[in-house]
Symmetry: C2
Subunit: 368 residues, 2 copies
């Protein structure tokens, strides 16, 4: 399944900070066919460093999508039945307008003059894209990590447009620890002398700071167990310690490599803006309680968390489930046993597939 | 209790990398009185960023020691009964020879020409200090975190000199995750352009890199729970988000401050060398199994871990306990319930005090 990237343009987008941004481009891909009644559309939402290429093989890069094991003919999000849409988030660097985009007022990249955005802003832009397809109601909104946060925002902000929501390995608001890890990444980037207050687009990017930020990220995405299985204390291409500061352990080699490669696919300013949006995210904002924030939702929910995910621990999904139940919402919750930590939603998809397939089938049947 | 720092000098120290270092200074403090039979000496071992000032009020700085709540008259390490010694580790930057010390061969700081050292090297130097006091057997060796790793090294390397060992919140070898967090800190320091391959002593130190490293450290020392209690999502001196990249949250302010202050008391090269020593530490090295590594130990053990410590999780202490029991060693193990994460051994000392006091009293009685 070769897929082409598309771009939609909107004249302006109202932002939570009170300003307006425009024009705004949205990069997106679609998989499957929209039915005549437009009742089979599903929005899939990517995590922090993801992009619009969720499934199939990219015509441009030849690479599979980040959730290709979940989206396609006969898969969890079965493209024989459903029309799946995925767009790059606002503030991103993979085709949707973000800090690396040209500001039409100046002809230069926005850099740090880009407005600080929120998860609400990201979803508002996605809503405009969905409206442009003439889709009134989404059969489902789903994603893992920050994708799950967007799914929750969709259900709360556009209750009449969301038939079901599947937030996976997500939270209703970032904890102090989650904010802290993001702040470390931001400080690493801003400490890099190549950062130049974000105006590095005609120069070297802050590659070393971005690499350190990414290394921290990778540790938090894995579990203690999965790191032990994958690396243990194995040495890298040697039998004894180097007694120096070159790579000794496999895990050091892995982190250095992943960190150094990240700069080729991700913009440091997008790192700052998107992590900030995640930290600001709090469904209870303006509502007092989580239950009140979910008062108007009409969706059915399937909430999934993973036993070894210590970055978005199960108790955070369970808070969501309790709040939904307290308002008598239709909610199913499963904590899947997996060793892969936060990354589980991307890699350990067998049980997740069964859950999602069944939930979508019953939702589609009820909605007809 | 005002305490003075002391320094001992040794002509040379044999190192695990096969070379010899000399002369070597050791900064140390003592509390209480050594009895005539020299049977009441306890070595207390500091954690990664600690120093020789474990208890009392420093004559130099006016500050209390890092374990002042555990060491003193009537406290867990009761200085009315015991003679307590604490020295700064080899490779440190608080009086003991380390990379910031002058290399007598060149008249310049060693910087990165300092040899890569091990926990074994640290303990070998401590043994020379203890020998210089004429102490043949230590009533106990104890410390938290890296201090606990040194206590284990003492018991394994000098079995006839150690009557008891109290490793707290420690491990017998660093896991991939523990190595990974250390590697992030090292990469943050080495990515700082002020690092200059470690030769920064006549210039600006790599303060920003060291700050990022320290921020990561602080997150790993606390628990998700303790961060929620201490910071939650509270904003710092404002009622609404800044929609910018200045500090929004209390937790950001705390981490930035702690990170930025660290450079005034810690040397970045010591950060590299000491974390490397921790990563190399593996009691099983050269023995095959942990049980074999502990085969020759003669000490009684009190092993303590903390329920919320995710950096040195309880299962790591339990591996040690199982190996000791498999060799029929006298070992008591307690997992203390505490919310403070890895920092618990420094801050939540009520139960720890009872455990240590009772264990030392019975050990002292048996040893007479």
């Amino acid at each position: 399944m070769i897929v082409e990237a598309n771009t939609a343009r909107f004249d302006s987008l109202a932002l939570d900070n009170g300003t307006t941004l425009g024009p705004v481009d949205v990069a997106y891909e679609t998989y499957g066919e929209l039915n005549a009644a437009k009742t089979n559309a599903i929005v899939v939402l990517h995590a922090f460093s993801g992009d619009a290429h969720a499934a199939g093989i990219s015509a441009e890069t030849g690479k599979p999508g980040w959730w290709d094991n979940m989206i396609g003919p006969g898969k969890a999000f079965d493209t024989n039945q459903y029309f799946v849409i995925c767009s790059n988030v606002l503030g991103g660097c993979r085709g949707t307008t973000g800090p690396s985009s040209l500001n039409p007022a100046t002809g230069c990249p926005y850099a740090m003059s880009f407005p600080v955005i929120t998860i609400g802003d990201m979803v508002r832009l996605q809503k405009m894209l969905i409206d442009s397809f003439g889709i009134r109601r989404l059969l489902s909104v789903s994603g893992g990590s920050m994708g799950g946060m967007q799914a929750l925002e969709w259900a709360a902000a556009y209750p009449e447009s969301v038939v079901s929501a599947i937030p996976i390995a997500a939270t209703t608001r970032h904890s102090a620890q989650q904010i802290a890890f993001n702040e470390v990444g931001r400080q690493a980037i801003m400490a890099d002398p190549d950062f130049h207050e974000g105006s590095y687009y005609d120069k070297q990017p802050p590659a070393r700071g971005l690499a350190v930020a990414r290394m921290v990220g990778h540790i938090t995405y894995m579990s203690d167990d999965s790191m032990r299985e994958k690396f243990g204390r194995r040495l890298r291409g040697k039998e004894n310690f180097s007694f120096g500061f070159d790579v000794d352990f496999e895990v050091e080699s892995y982190l250095r490599y992943r960190g150094s490669q990240f700069v080729y696919r991700f913009d440091a300013n997008s790192y700052l803006y998107i992590t900030k949006a995640m930290d600001y995210f709090d469904l209870t904002n303006g509502h007092g309680t989580l239950a009140a924030a979910l008062e108007k939702t009409q969706a059915r929910f399937l909430v999934i968390s993973f036993s070894s995910d210590w970055l978005y621990p199960s108790y955070q999904s369970q808070e969501l489930v309790r709040a939904l139940r307290s308002r008598n919402r239709d909610v199913a919750y499963v904590e899947l046993q997996s060793n892969y930590g936060h990354d589980s939603f991307l890699v350990d998809v067998a049980e997740q597939t069964d859950l999602v397939r069944g939930f979508l089938a019953s939702t589609f049947e009820k909605a007809q």
